[in-house]
Amino acid sequence: MRDIRLLTQMFIPGQLIGPFAQANPGLGAVCTFVGEVRGEAYVEALELTHYEPLTLAGMHDLADRALGRFNLMGLLMVHRIGVLVAGEPIVCVSAAAAHRRDAIDAVDFCMDHLKSAAWFWKRERRSDGWHWIEPRAQDHTDLKRWD
């Protein structure tokens, strides 16, 4: 089961993960990562913008590569756009497979690519206004692990 989505409203990961696991009968492993907006004291809100013609297509392309690289039964990849506050889920990736290593690695692979190579622009609102964010050096290093 393949479920790739951009969401404009807050979501509850459990409401996606439960049905996803159910939709892959016979799985031996399911691995899920949920990223949330960190509760930094100076950040009032986070805004994610995207470019409609590229962002979702890019996520589908990433899903294709994950499905080609790992032995998966299903892949769920959901990403928020819009304005978020601390504690809100921003991304959820879940992979179902016969064995754990494929599920774990597929989620790791998708997250490293989403974190530094996906078509999102992120800015955070602090007391003095909005500030654009670039990926951390660590995000690029993480991505290189898959070359």
Partner: protein
């Protein structure tokens, strides 16, 4: 007869607008001449990409947008 030029992320702040229209057909020199100089300067950065009609252009200088195309100016991504 126009090409819609869309500014993403911090580029929209530089322009003070999300998009503008330029006459078609639109090539690379015409794009650079038609957008605000501050954005044209950003476009010389290899990390700033350009998409035309929903596809990232491999060689920006080879841009050739026709009437009805949307050209998106894509600054370095922040990631998700």
């Amino acid at each position: 007869m126009a090409v819609r030029v869309v500014f993403l992320g911090p580029l929209a702040d530089l322009v003070g607008a999300d998009e503008m229209e330029l006459p078609a057909p639109l090539d690379w020199p015409a794009l650079l001449a038609g957008i605000p100089p501050a954005v044209a300067e950003q476009l010389t950065n290899a990390r700033v990409h350009v998409a035309c009609a929903g596809r990232v252009v491999a060689d920006k200088a080879a841009l050739r947008a026709v009437d009805g195309d949307e050209v998106a100016l894509l600054p370095p991504v922040s990631g998700g």
